[in-house]
């Protein structure tokens, strides 16, 4: 274990102006490349399959999965989000948020579930809840359950 946390180490590196600029750039390039690959694996799609969905070429999908590529357009990303049936979040954030995401990365955060997967999960839990606790479920003020979809992880069931 390091004497100072990984968060603190990266934060220290960010004091350098050049590193800070490159860190944002590489986070997009490396992060997107791995996410596209992970999403494709999760949905059991070959590069050819994804290319077909997007009306593109397999060689371009291969480039998108290359961490050295980094030439994505917003239009391409929106099309990919539609093809994978996942949401796309593009926003400016403080560096602390970016470091936090880097430090707390998980496999699940790399390949989020599609809307259909979330919907199935939601239905299954709702059904289980209704079957096992019908009276309580009628009283939504005290025992209702709902889903919180956190930004980068699977849906989590929260019991209020």
């Amino acid at each position: 274990m390091n004497s100072i946390s990984r968060y603190e180490q990266i934060w220290k590196s960010l004091q350098d102006d050049d590193f800070r600029k490159q860190f944002v750039d590489e986070n997009v390039s490396v992060g997107l490349a791995f996410q596209i690959r992970a999403l494709r694996d999760r949905q059991k799609l070959k590069q050819e399959d994804l290319a077909k969905k997007l009306g593109s070429k397999q060689s371009l999908v291969s480039s998108w999965e290359n961490p050295n590529y980094g030439k994505y357009t917003l239009g391409t990303l929106k099309d990919m989000a539609e093809a994978f049936d996942v949401a796309l979040l593009v926003k400016f954030v403080p560096f602390s948020t970016l470091v936090d995401w880097t430090v707390n990365m998980t496999s699940d955060s790399q390949a989020p579930p599609s809307f259909l997967e979330e919907e199935r999960y939601h239905s299954a839990v709702s059904s289980y809840s209704a079957d096992n606790n019908p009276k309580k479920d009628e009283n939504l003020n005290t025992t209702s359950s709902y889903f919180k979809v956190d930004e980068y992880n699977k849906p989590q069931q929260i019991t209020a």
């Binding site: 390091n2 180490q9 590196s13 490159q22 490396v30 791995f34 990365m105 496999s107 790399q110």
Partner: protein, 138 residues
């Protein structure tokens, strides 16, 4: 999911982290790349699986070339006009970072020969308290 791989830097006799020194020196332009790449690989499936992210172009097993026996080693890479590489060896779920190199044009300079790289791996295994430290990102 927990971390699958742990990355360790080589610490030399003087206590210096040679990977960290390189990333803050000759490899400075690649530091941000490896800062983002390593956490991705930490959570990935093992090399040689079908659905692995340990693959070309950012990862490549080394071959024996010009009498240099690099078999068993691999490199993490940042591509570009100048290519930056960290030489690694993977054992079980440990990734030993033992050397660094720059590839410019036809010339590939790794800072140590394979024999030294092997010695470093052996030292990191035999005496972890002295010769290795979990990868440092600063």
């Amino acid at each position: 999911m927990a971390i699958v791989y742990t990355f360790f830097d080589y610490i030399d006799e003087s206590g210096a982290n040679i990977i960290k020194c390189w990333l803050n020196g000759d490899g400075k332009l690649a530091k941000a790349h490896f800062t983002n790449l390593i956490p991705q690989l930490e959570h990935s499936t093992p090399p040689h699986f079908n659905d692995t992210v340990w693959r070309i172009p950012h990862y490549k097993p080394l071959e024996n070339k010009k009498g240099q026996k690099w078999e068993g080693f691999a490199e993490l890479r940042k591509l570009g006009k100048i290519q930056y590489r960290i030489i690694i060896q993977i054992q079980d779920h440990k990734v030993f970072l033992v050397a660094c190199g720059v590839h410019k044009g036809q010339k590939f300079d790794i800072d140590v020969p394979p024999k030294t790289a092997r010695l470093r791996v052996a030292q990191m295994i035999a005496n972890p308290a002295k010769y290795r430290r979990e990868h440092e990102f600063d």
